[in-house]
């Protein structure tokens, strides 16, 4: 769990932060807080699918479900569990 969280956090920082001095926590509102533009959610989805070999249906990969590192982690965990 912790490992997934940190992988996601690192990805989000590299992908979206212009200024690296911006503080980002596991609970920062990513999309509603204006850090992640909703146009590029698809990259995040593809990254998760490739990295964790899961398939996230579109109706689950919503702006709400992607709105914080913690929420994303929960979603990934759920699909990893379903796989096993």
């Amino acid at each position: 769990m912790d490992e997934i969280r940190d992988v996601v956090l690192e990805y989000v920082i590299n992908e979206y932060m212009e200024d690296q001095d911006e503080e980002l926590t596991y609970d920062t509102a990513l999309i509603s807080g204006g850090f992640v533009d909703s146009f590029s959610m698809v990259s995040l989805k593809r990254f998760l699918e490739t990295r964790y070999k899961i398939s996230l249906p579109d109706n689950r990969a919503t702006p709400e479900a992607f709105d914080s590192v913690n929420k994303i982690t929960e979603l990934v965990m759920e699909f990893l569990a379903a796989k096993e």
């Binding site: 212009e18 204006g34 533009d37 146009f39 590029s40 698809v42 990259s43």
Partner: protein
């Protein structure tokens, strides 16, 4: 109808919230033509004040040019006031086809389709061309109207960091499996005044078999040696698949816009773009005015040369005075003040000194990057620019920011 006291109160509250937050927008009423100097009523009811205007998109100074007005007069006499019809019924005149041809020739493209505005061009172009099998990869700072168009289209969306070519390349690789990859960028970014690196972008598009769309609204008529736009500046004329641009800025400033590019793409827009199918095209007097603008610009580069000279002088003058500018080489020169309140106070002081410019802050620009955006025009004479620069220096001294670093300014004014 049920616009009850309850309903009214809800909207009233929303407006009051904006007012209290200091973000209620208030319009300045102009009692003159658009030009280097304008007469402004602000706030509403106040006596008229004559000010030097450095916040219009009147880059070539054509908004009230007598030759353009005369051409529009003649257009009215020859082709009437309005069409009262959409293009496909009985709303297409010979002058509309003439303008489409002239735009294609000017931009170096295969074909052009007119829209009532560039906002409409951007709103209609994506949906007309792309499907679910495609992806649109846009720069994260593209104009709001492109974002609306992207939202209306079913193709997948993705974005890349502003002008970050490495990031764009990663995205092109990521979406290699898509039928069409369309890269979307502004030619000139209106808030920073920087230009898209179109040479590198075209090279990447060629490498990864992608298409490119450039919004040239803040470039057409004056960027590049002969004013054709950003694609001329970067030596990629003929290699941009889609250009959208406006006649509402440099090219006369009245209204109207277009999509110009590959002939099949333009034809798809004619068949499918909703703002084109369901709205009148540009009215005859405006068409006639724009035709005369393009005729003049095709003959001589005098106006864009003057604009370039003005902009260079202005940029250098501000730098010499000790202001921090956003780097660039366009007529959009942002003077960085970083703090939102400072940008507002600064603009008010400038206005009192007879210079009209606007302070921009979050969310229009990123947090901590508030600025005064200045826009230079070929309508400006040296005495206008000298007076405006003197006003900037006077106000800059008042706030003691000349020669100061970002950190020093933030320490003085940042929260």
């Amino acid at each position: 109808m049920a616009y009850s006291a309850r309903t009214r109160a809800i909207f009233e509250n929303q407006i009051n919230t904006l007012k209290d937050g200091g973000i209620l927008k208030i319009e300045r009423y102009i009692h003159s033509v658009q030009d280097a100097e304008i007469e402004v009523e602000f706030p509403p009811g106040a006596p008229l004040k004559k000010v030097i205007n450095i916040c219009a998109n009147n880059y070539l100074g054509l908004s009230s040019h007598p030759a353009v007005v005369k051409a529009a007069h003649e257009g009215l006499d020859a082709r009437g006031y309005g069409m009262s019809s959409v293009r496909f019924i009985c709303g297409t005149q010979d002058i509309h086809k003439e303008l489409e041809e002239k735009v294609s020739k000017f931009l170096g493209t295969e074909d052009t389709i007119l829209f009532p505005s560039c906002m409409d061009a951007n709103a209609g172009v994506f949906e007309a061309i792309l499907t679910e099998e495609d992806v649109m990869i846009s720069d994260r700072l593209v104009h709001a109207s492109l974002i609306d168009g992207i939202r209306l289209c079913k193709a997948m969306t993705d974005s890349f960091k502003h002008s970050d070519m490495k990031h764009l390349e990663e995205k092109l690789i990521l979406h290699a499996d898509k039928r069409i990859k369309l890269v979307i960028t502004d030619g000139v970014y209106s808030m920073d005044g920087d230009t898209a690196k179109l040479d590198e972008m075209v090279a990447l598009c060629e490498k990864y078999d992608a298409m490119i769309l450039v919004d040239e609204s803040h470039a057409s008529g004056f960027i590049g040696k002969t004013g054709r736009g950003t694609h001329e500046k970067y030596g990629v004329m003929g290699k941009i698949d889609l250009i959208t641009t406006t006649f509402g800025k440099g090219l006369g400033g009245a209204s109207g816009g277009c999509v110009s590019g590959r002939k099949e793409l333009v034809e798809m827009c004619r068949q499918k773009a909703r703002p084109y199918l369901f709205s009148n095209t540009i009215a005859p007097p405006v068409v006639a005015g724009v035709i005369s603008v393009l005729d003049t610009l095709s003959k001589t580069t005098e106006r864009r040369d003057k604009l370039e000279k003005n902009a260079n002088w202005w940029r250098q003058g501000l730098l010499d005075a000790g202001f921090i500018l956003q780097p660039g080489d366009t007529p959009i020169v942002p003077v960085m003040l970083f703090d939102a309140k400072l940008s507002q106070d600064f603009a008010i002081d400038l206005f009192n000194e007879g210079v009209y410019a606007i302070g921009f802050f979050f969310p229009v620009v990123p947090q901590g990057k508030a600025r005064i955006r200045t826009q230079i025009s070929a309508a400006h004479e040296m005495h206008h620019l000298e007076k405006a620069l003197a006003a900037f220096i006077k106000v800059g001294k008042k706030y003691d920011i000349l020669g100061k670093s970002k950190k020093e300014i933030m320490e003085m004014y940042g929260a």
